[in-house]
């Protein structure tokens, strides 16, 4: 029996079950810690009508940006859509719906989704366009917005190391939204740089326990850098 072995060997298998119209939650911040090969597989599959939840939408030609090329994304839930010509064009054409969500609220919506919290209150966005159509309420003399959680049909995640049981650790700031996305997918797929032996990761140092993870695949990564900045 397979037990807890979650390793798959092809990207096709990793994204099997993805259908038109589904919601995908993606880890990553800018181009840092993005599941680049899982995104490429979504492009290969030509799945359409997707709702994508991710802090950013990649750049022209890389990351989630490549899903815009064939208009695979119907709706984007993000905090910052970045410098992306195709994105801008599709937005202005009305081909792309965008739900701008404050970064901390977006992170908390994913975390709440995974944690069985249907909604929470936050001061973020009170009195701004983000509050339109949302309930507000006072606690201790301050006004807060009611924000609902997010769950995805798929979560796509980029880790550093994972074991076969799906326990994952992230490297440096490539962690970002990844552990939150991992909790919020009905099917959570994690691609990593290295698959290690079960027992090799220190239990109390695991960022994403395997219980959240359905499939693990080892990939190789370009890791493009958006803004190379060095000191002389």
């Amino acid at each position: 029996m397979a037990g807890f072995d979650k390793v798959v060997v092809s990207y096709e298998e990793a994204m099997s079950g993805l259908e038109d119209g589904m919601t995908i939650i993606a880890g990553g911040f800018g181009l840092c810690g993005i599941p680049e090969n899982l995104i490429a597989e979504i492009k290969r599959r030509q799945t359409k009508g997707l709702t994508v939840v991710s802090n950013n939408c990649g750049v022209d030609g890389f990351g989630l940006g490549i899903l815009l090329e064939d208009k695979q994304i119907k709706k984007m839930i993000a905090s910052y859509v970045g410098e992306n010509a195709l994105f801008e064009q599709q937005l202005l054409n009305g081909e792309l719906e965008v739900d701008l969500t404050p970064q901390g609220t977006l992170a908390e919506k994913m975390r709440a989704g995974g944690a069985g919290i249907p909604a929470f209150y936050t001061a973020t966005g009170v009195g701004t366009p983000v509050a339109e159509g949302k309930e507000t309420r006072c606690f201790h003399d301050r006004e807060y917005l009611l924000e609902e959680s997010i769950i995805g049909d798929f979560a796509i995640v980029k880790g550093w190391k994972a074991d076969r049981f799906g326990n994952v650790i992230y490297r440096h700031t490539a962690q970002n939204f990844n552990p939150l996305a991992a909790t919020a997918g009905k099917i959570t797929v994690v691609e990593v740089e290295e698959i290690v032996e079960v027992g090799e990761l220190e239990p109390s140092q695991i960022h994403t326990p395997g219980i959240y993870v359905d499939r693990v695949i080892q990939g190789s990564f370009e890791k493009r850098i958006e803004k190379v900045t060095v000191r002389s």
């Binding site: 911040f29 840092c32 404050p102 609220t105 977006l106 992170a107 009195g127 701004t128 958006e226 000191r231």
Partner: protein
């Protein structure tokens, strides 16, 4: 004369205190890190999940997995911690960051701030700005006092969509240091050589000018 960007950063740096955890926004706020007073320790929080942001890397230490909220490659100082975006905004939203410095298009006498959206211009998104202004108790807004065409950015009511409501108490412009108290801007300091008349003229919201308004001093 109006302050340069570097002088603005220098003036903001005078508000730093030893042991402060600080979040610096993009632009002038970022420059503040260059003017931390000698012998004082501050720790920079970057909302993508880094507390203890260090200098830019060298070509040799450049690492795609090590970036700041402006997506620039950075390093971490000794004693830094790295965590998820949810944890990062727990710090911010929970009021654990001692000082937040960020830019704006407009600020008004009620402490409202508009910094993310100009209608009919393409909107890139608010990123973490709304969380930062809602979460911090101690915020300094840095911006030019007026637009290039001379329109005041210190208003009775923000005209642009807000980033946050009633959350700003301190503003540093290229002309003045102002605090917001009881629905007014209070002129606390002026840039060296800038007249009170010029500041009055370029401040659209109600301005209180104390009897004595010192010039800023720079070490």
């Amino acid at each position: 004369m109006a302050l340069s960007r570097e002088q603005m950063a220098q003036r903001v740096a005078q508000e730093l205190r030893d042991g402060f955890y600080v979040n610096l926004g993009i632009g002038i706020p970022t420059l503040v890190a260059n003017y931390v007073p000698e012998g004082m320790d501050v720790m920079l929080q970057s909302e993508n999940g880094l507390l203890g942001m260090g200098a830019f890397p060298t070509e040799e230490t450049l690492d795609a997995d090590m970036i700041n909220a402006g997506k620039q490659t950075v390093t971490a100082v000794a004693g830094a911690s790295i965590f998820s975006s949810a944890e990062s905004f727990a710090m911010i939203r929970g009021g654990h960051v001692d000082l937040t410095v960020l830019g704006a298009f407009e600020v008004d006498v009620n402490g409202n701030i508009a910094s993310w959206m100009i209608p009919n211009k393409l909107v890139k998104g608010m990123g973490g700005a709304m969380d930062l202004v809602a979460g911090a108790d101690n915020i300094i807004v840095t911006m030019t006092h007026a637009s290039k065409s001379g329109e005041s950015k210190l208003l009775s009511n923000c005209s642009l969509p807000l980033t946050g409501k009633g959350c700003i108490k301190k503003v540093l412009t290229d002309l003045a240091w102002l605090e917001i108290e009881n629905g007014c801007f209070v002129l606390k300091e002026r840039a060296p050589g800038v007249s009170i008349d010029e500041i009055k003229e370029k401040t659209a919201g109600e301005l209180i000018v104390p009897d004595y308004v010192p010039e800023m001093t720079f070490a």
